[in-house]
C-alpha cells in the first residue's frame, strides 16, 4: 500500500513536471517568437522610413503652393525658371525629363529585345557564358563613371557629328541608353524564359519557322513582361541625376531641339540644392521638383503592377 502510494506520488510529480513543460514554450517556439519579432521590427522600421520620407517630401514640396502662394498651374505650365527672382515655371525640366526618358527607352528597347532573344532562343550557351556577365558588369558601373565617359567621349563626339556645343538631350539620351540597356535586357530575358516550353513546341510542330515562332508566339506571349522591363528602365532613366547632369548642359529653357542644352528635374535639383536657404522660395521650389519625381516613380510602379496583373490573367486563360 505504502509502496503504491509512493509510486502514485512519484507519478504525480512526474506528470506535474510534464504538464509544466508542455504548458511552457519550448526553445523552438521561443526562437519562433524572436524571429517573428525581429522581422516585424524590421518591417516596422522600413514602413516608418518610407512613410516619413513620403510625408517629408510632400510637406516640403507643397510649401511652394501653401506658403509662397504660387499657383499649381503656373508651376506646371510656366516656362521661366529663375527661382531667385520668384519665377518658377517647371515645364522646361518636366519636358526635359520626359524627353530623355522616352528617347532612351525607345532607343534601348530594340537592342535589349534583340540581345534577349539571342540569349534565350538563338544561342543560350553563349548568352549565359558571355553576355550575362557583360550585362551584369554594365549594371554595376557607378553612374558618375557613365557621366564622366559621357562628358569626355559622347559630348565631343556629338559636337563633331551634329554641331552645337555637344551638350543636350541627344547626349543625355545616348548615356541613358547605355545605362538602361542592362535593366531592360535582363528583365526581358527573364520574361522570355518564363514563356512555357509547350508554346514553342506547339508552334514548331505546326510547321512554323524559328523566326515565326519567336516573333509571333514567344514575343507575343512575353509582351507584358517586356513592357514591365521597359517601364523599369524608364523609371531608372527618369531618376538618374549625376550622369545626365554632366552631359545635358543644365539650361533651364524649353528644349528647342535635341542638340542644344536642356535640363531635367534631377539635374536642376543637384545643381541648385546647395545654394538655397531652407524655407525660402528657391528651396521650396526644388522640393516641389522632388515631389514631381516621387509622384512619377510611384506612377511607374503602379503601371508595372497593372501590366503584370493583366499579363497574368492572359496566361491563365
Amino acid at each position: 500500500m505504502e509502496q503504491t502510494n509512493f509510486q502514485l506520488k512519484k507519478q504525480d510529480t512526474q506528470s506535474q513536471e510534464w504538464s509544466k513543460r508542455l504548458h511552457h514554450a519550448t526553445r523552438a517556439t521561443r526562437e519562433d517568437w524572436i524571429g517573428r519579432g525581429v522581422s516585424y521590427l524590421c518591417i516596422g522600421v522600413i514602413i516608418l522610413v518610407v512613410a516619413s520620407m513620403l510625408w517629408f517630401i510632400t510637406s516640403k514640396g507643397i510649401a511652394t503652393f501653401t506658403q509662397n502662394h504660387v499657383s499649381l498651374w503656373k508651376f506646371l505650365s510656366g516656362t521661366d525658371w529663375s527661382p531667385s527672382q520668384g519665377k518658377i515655371g517647371a515645364l522646361p525640366m518636366i519636358v526635359g525629363s520626359f524627353a530623355v526618358t522616352f528617347a532612351a527607352a525607345i532607343v534601348a528597347t530594340p537592342f535589349a529585345v534583340g540581345t534577349a532573344i539571342f540569349m534565350t532562343e538563338i544561342s543560350p550557351n553563349k548568352g549565359r557564358k558571355f553576355l550575362q556577365p557583360v550585362i551584369e558588369l554594365l549594371v554595376g558601373i557607378p553612374s558618375v563613371v557613365y557621366g564622366f565617359i559621357g562628358l569626355a567621349v559622347v559630348v565631343p563626339f556629338m559636337r563633331h557629328l551634329v554641331g552645337g556645343s555637344g551638350f543636350g538631350i541627344i547626349s543625355a539620351t545616348f548615356v541613358l541608353f547605355v545605362m538602361v540597356l542592362p535593366t531592360i535586357t535582363s528583365m526581358t530575358v527573364d520574361s522570355l524564359r518564363a514563356v512555357p516550353r509547350y508554346y514553342k513546341e506547339a508552334s514548331l510542330a505546326l510547321g512554323a519557322t524559328r523566326w515565326q515562332t519567336v516573333s509571333k508566339v514567344i514575343l507575343r506571349s512575353a509582351t507584358p513582361g517586356i513592357l514591365t522591363a521597359v517601364i523599369f528602365g524608364m523609371a531608372r532613366a527618369f531618376g538618374e541625376a549625376l550622369a545626365v547632369q554632366m552631359v545635358i548642359g543644365n539650361a533651364a529653357v524649353m528644349p528647342k531641339d535635341l542638340i542644344s542644352a536642356a535640363s531635367t528635374l534631377t539635374s536642376q535639383l543637384t545643381t541648385g540644392i546647395g545654394d538655397t536657404i531652407d524655407g525660402t522660395l528657391p528651396n521650396n521650389a526644388l522640393w516641389s521638383l522632388a515631389l514631381i519625381l516621387l509622384l512619377m516613380s510611384l506612377f511607374f510602379n503602379a503601371l508595372v503592377r497593372v501590366i503584370a496583373k493583366r499579363g497574368q490573367l492572359k496566361h491563365e486563360r
Binding site: S82, P83, S84, Q85, L151, V155, P156, R159, S165, G166, F167, Q245, M246, G249, N250, A251, A252, V253, A261, S263, T270, T271, G272, I273, G274, D275, T276, I277, D278, G279, T280, P282, N283
Partner: protein, 296 residues
C-alpha cells in the same frame, strides 16, 4: 653577446623611448596648459573655401589634438542656413549674409578669412585675350553671340554659367552685369566642372576663381587689366569676393581659437597664398556688403 645583455639593452632602449615621450608630452602640455583646448567644431558651406578650411583645419587639429574639427562643403547657401539654424559652429560662404534672402545677417558674425579673385575664362581657340567690360556684359546678357563681334574667331559663343545662387556667380554678376539678368544658358554646379567644360568646348566662356586657371584655358583681361593677385589687392581688378566664416551668437572656445588661427600669420602668409587665395592682410581696400569699396 648573451641573451641577458640583449634583454638589458632592449629594456634600456624602451625606457629611453618612454622617457623621451614623457618629456615631449610634458613640455607641450606645459606650453599649452593655459588653454587645454577641446570640443567639436564643424565648418560647413562654400566649396570655394573648403580646400583652404580643410587644410588649415588639419594643421590646427595637429596642434590641438583634443579638438574635433570637421570641414564639409555643400555650398554657401547650405553654410549660411546651417549656421543660422545653429546646426554647425561655422558657416562658410563666398557672399555676404546680407546678400542672401532668408538669412538674418544681424544675427551672424562675419569673419573674413581670405579673398578670391575671379576672372572670365574662354576656350583657347576663340582667340580672345582681352575684352572691354561693356563687351563682357553684352556677351553674358546675350547681345553678342559670335566671337568675331569682339575681335575673335568666327565662332558661336557658348555661355556656361554657375548655378543660380552660387557665390561665384553672384560675385561675377554684381561686378559685370550690375543688376541686369544673364541670358538663360548652361549651368554647372562647380568650379571643376566649369574648368573642364570650358577647356574642351570650342567657343565656351565662363568665369573661374584664379586658383582654377590652367594652361588649357585662357583667362581674359578686362580693359587691359590682367587678373592677378596684385590687381585684386588694389581693386584695379573688380571681380573678387571675400571668403567668409560666419558664426552665430558667442562661439565656444575651440571655434574662437580656430578663427583666430585662420587670421594668424601662419595661415595668412603661407597657406592662403600656397593654395591660390589672396591674404586678407594684403588687401589695400575694403568692400562692404553693398559692394562699396573704400581705401584702407
Amino acid at each position: 653577446m648573451n641573451k641577458g645583455s640583449k634583454l638589458a639593452m632592449g629594456i634600456a632602449a624602451i625606457s629611453l623611448l618612454l622617457v623621451g615621450c614623457g618629456k615631449a608630452t610634458s613640455s607641450t602640455s606645459s606650453k599649452e596648459s593655459s588653454a587645454a583646448l577641446s570640443g567639436k567644431v564643424t565648418a560647413v558651406g562654400s566649396t570655394a573655401l573648403q580646400p583652404l578650411a580643410a587644410k588649415a583645419g588639419s594643421n590646427f587639429t595637429a596642434k590641438n589634438s583634443k579638438v574635433n574639427l570637421t570641414v564639409q562643403g555643400g555650398g554657401s547657401g547650405t553654410g549660411l542656413s546651417q549656421v543660422q539654424a545653429g546646426a554647425v559652429s561655422i558657416g562658410d560662404s563666398d557672399i555676404f549674409a546680407e546678400e542672401k534672402d532668408g538669412i538674418k545677417a544681424d544675427k551672424l558674425t562675419d569673419h573674413k578669412v581670405a579673398v578670391v579673385g575671379m576672372a572670365p575664362v574662354v576656350n583657347k581657340d576663340t582667340g580672345i585675350k582681352n575684352l572691354k567690360m561693356a563687351q563682357l556684359k553684352q556677351i553674358f546678357t546675350g547681345k553678342i553671340t559670335n566671337w568675331k563681334e569682339v575681335g575673335g574667331k568666327d565662332e558661336k559663343i557658348v555661355i556656361i554659367n554657375r548655378a543660380q545662387g552660387s557665390g561665384t556667380r553672384a560675385t561675377f554678376e554684381n561686378a559685370v552685369l550690375k543688376g541686369t539678368d544673364a541670358v538663360k544658358s548652361q549651368e554647372q554646379d562647380s568650379n571643376g566642372a566649369v574648368q573642364k567644360i570650358v577647356s574642351t568646348t570650342p567657343g565656351a566662356v565662363s568665369y573661374l576663381a584664379f586658383s582654377y586657371f590652367t594652361n588649357k584655358l585662357q583667362a581674359v583681361s578686362i580693359d587691359n587689366v590682367t587678373p592677378t593677385d596684385n590687381n585684386v589687392e588694389t581693386n584695379k581688378w573688380k571681380i573678387w569676393s571675400y571668403e567668409h566664416m560666419y558664426t552665430k551668437g558667442t562661439p565656444d572656445k575651440a571655434t574662437t581659437a580656430f578663427l583666430k588661427y585662420m587670421d594668424s600669420k601662419t595661415v595668412q602668409d603661407s597657406l592662403v597664398k600656397d593654395m591660390g587665395y589672396i591674404s586678407i592682410h594684403d588687401m589695400k581696400v575694403t568692400k562692404d556688403a553693398k559692394g562699396v569699396v573704400t581705401q584702407n
